[in-house]
Amino acid sequence: MQDPKQPATDSSSSVGTGSAAGDKVVEMQDCSISFGGIHAVDHASLDLCKGEVVALLGHNGAGKSTFIKLLSGAYKRDTGTIRIRGEEAVINNPRDAKAYGIETIYQTLALADNVDTAANLYLGRELMTAWGTLDDVAMEAQAREVMGRLNPRFQRFKEPVKALSGGQRQSVAIARAILFNAQILIMDEPTAALGPQETAQVGELIKQLKSDGISIFLISHDIEDVFDLADRVAVMKNGQMVGTAPVSGVTKDEVLGMIILGKCPPGATPGPGAVDVG
């Protein structure tokens, strides 16, 4: 779990501006969004390197999902800049994000319950026949292939996804994200609906995707889910970034302290949300 790209004590952290290392695929700087008077995300910054898994942790309501939705295009940020592969990116809606190779697995899964698996996998990017009609047969064939890799026992292709179990729905959502050669993957609580065995499967999948060079944001409120998978952790509290740390430089208890108290341990790089220690 050593991360060669991110020395633990280096100051070129996600916090602050002007860091532009060559292999950083995502740099989110000073991003804010508020709903009414609530500062859901308050000047938060975070970056992600190629092939890196960054776990974004925090309480329910800490702003992690909202923060990451600025990247996936679901929300439009009020302030801040986002750079993708070093270039400033314009992300105003989910279509823009997808054009940059950013795929998202939402906490709610964002599946259209009334249509079948293939239709969900290709929603917004349907395969068409030469006559400009939907190529359902080809889409279903592709769906069978990709689902066969993720979840070999999955057979219910003709049924609307409403009829599927929680784990099956989750694998549909994951399959949709990896079907289109994503470069950057955002997984918002990907194991929330899963049993232990399926959770382990998702863990394996994340390792495999990482070895393929895909960069992953892993969002969770439960440190146990992600600590072994991540290269780095980033902790949010009350919409602010408490700090980031390589998992090799901190213990679980220290990360818990970041989550609960906003207290930054010595191995971490404090952000604007960190409370003064002592």
Partner: protein, 438 residues
């Protein structure tokens, strides 16, 4: 689906062995049980009316009239399906129909004759085009306000209900416009507005060829991708039932003769001698019915085979997911309402042609019939669920009830009572069915 059962997991296999013969039949033919239930209900309604009206309901004459009366509502109900599927509603269709019908009436009676002369063969084309364009513009306006200005569809179309009814009055200050162009009138049915026995038979045969080739193409596609095939007997059953229904309908239309007076005039005009038993000239399929069937086919194609249709259903199932999947949901919403406006114009043309006049009250309360047809036809008000063919059958159910009650001499106010109760009952039963099946 037999192939699927061998590969599916154990619990599914166990469930399958307990199935009865009926369930196996339904599974093999992949027929929608809900649709079957609706057809059963329709048959029940027909037989009941037939028995209570001393055998006047299931006659070629009544069924032919029923088909013509249904056309206008059936056409609009296909658009209403898409609207309700996306969790909207359109209360203005009757008023749009009234306004567009009025404009079309004025176009063909006062505007075009002064340019083209009376009885020009292109009058009807221009009139219909004007209607369609105006319908589309009205729909676009509604759709824009709903999608981009975020005013609820209920309010926008409630406003439209008042606005377009008033606008219809304003076109001629309330005067009725009549008579219509002779060619235009063919769209309304009647002896002249029907295609006759031979052409009906040809249409029927083409439809049968269509059914057979659709099943063959489906089978070939499944083979190509190694999907489970329907058993051969199930395919054959579908072909026989489908073709039987088509040819049966043609036979009914072909056994309804022209009235004696019209036959006499026709014989005089063509120097024919009327034989002793009287000359039998069949109506055949009425043109409005053909239009409605074409609209149904096109709309089914749009709903199931195009990207637009897929987006409509995905938006209905989960609007947020559709947005997150990168679908331009606002533009899709606007397109749905444009389509609805166009369908209102076509329906308006048919009802104007049938009446041979444009009146200020045309299409009044049609919105309720159209919504009822869509809902009885299985369109869920919760969004995401509905079929075009279901809505069209729903329109037939609604019209059968009304026409049957007229035959039985039920008073008009009481007819509304029955229709209202049936609507509520149908939605309740539908809810029961869905809760059980999911």
């Amino acid at each position: 689906m037999t192939d699927a059962s061998t590969t599916s997991s154990a619990p599914q296999g166990a469930r399958q062995s307990e199935e009865s013969a009926v369930t196996r039949f339904l599974r093999a033919t992949e027929v929608d049980t809900r649709m079957l239930g609706m057809l059963g209900a329709l048959l029940l309604i027909w037989i009941t009316f037939h028995l209570f009206s001393d055998g006047r309901f299931l006659t070629p004459r009544n069924l032919w009239n029923l088909s013509v009366q249904t056309s206008s509502v059936a056409i609009m109900s296909t658009g209403m399906v898409l609207i309700i599927v996306t969790r909207h509603i359109d209360l203005s269709v009757g008023s749009i129909l009234g306004f567009v019908a009025m404009v079309m009436g004025v176009t063909q009676t006062s505007l075009l004759p002064s340019v083209l002369g009376l009885g020009s063969p292109v009058t009807w084309v221009i009139t219909l085009s004007v209607g369609v364009v105006i319908g589309a513009l009205i729909g676009a306006l509604h759709g824009y306000v709903i999608a981009y200005l975020a005013v609820p569809a209920f309010i926008v179309t409630l406003g439209g209900l008042l606005v377009w009814r008033g606008a219809a009055w304003w076109v001629t200050s309330g005067q009725t416009v009549a008579p219509m162009d002779a060619t235009f009138r063919l769209m309304g049915g009647g002896p002249n507005g029907s295609i006759g026995a031979t052409a009906s038979l040809v249409v029927g045969i083409i439809a049968c060829i269509g059914i057979v080739s659709m099943i063959l193409v489906g089978r070939r596609n499944r083979k190509r991708f190694n999907f489970p095939l329907r058993p051969m007997w199930a395919e054959l059953t579908l072909i026989v039932v489908g073709c039987g229904a088509v040819l049966g309908a043609v036979a009914v239309a072909n056994s309804y003769p022209w009235p004696k007076g019209i036959v006499k005039r026709y014989a005089q005009a063509n120097n024919l001698e009327i034989p002793d038993g009287g000359l039998f000239i069949a109506h055949g399929i009425a043109i409005p019915v053909l239009i409605a069937i074409c609209v149904g086919i096109v709309m089914t194609f749009i709903a199931t085979r195009t990207r637009f249709g897929r987006y409509v259903f995905a938006m209905g199932g989960n609007p947020e997911a559709a947005e997150l999947a990168g679908i331009n949901t606002r533009w899709v919403t606007m397109k749905i309402f444009i389509l609805m406006g166009v369908l209102c114009a076509i329906a308006g043309a048919i009802s104007t042609a049938r009446l041979n006049a444009s009146t200020n009250a045309q299409g009044t309360l049609d919105e309720l019939l159209v919504i009822a047809a869509a809902v009885i036809g299985g369109t869920s008000l919760g969004g995401g669920i509905g079929t075009i063919v279901g809505a069209m059958i729903g329109a037939v159910v609604m019209q059968s009830l009304q026409s049957g009650m007229v035959l039985l001499g039920v008073d008009a106010p009481f007819q509304n009572v029955v229709v209202g109760i049936v609507l509520v009952l149908a939605v309740w039963l539908d809810g029961l069915y869905r809760r059980r099946s999911v």
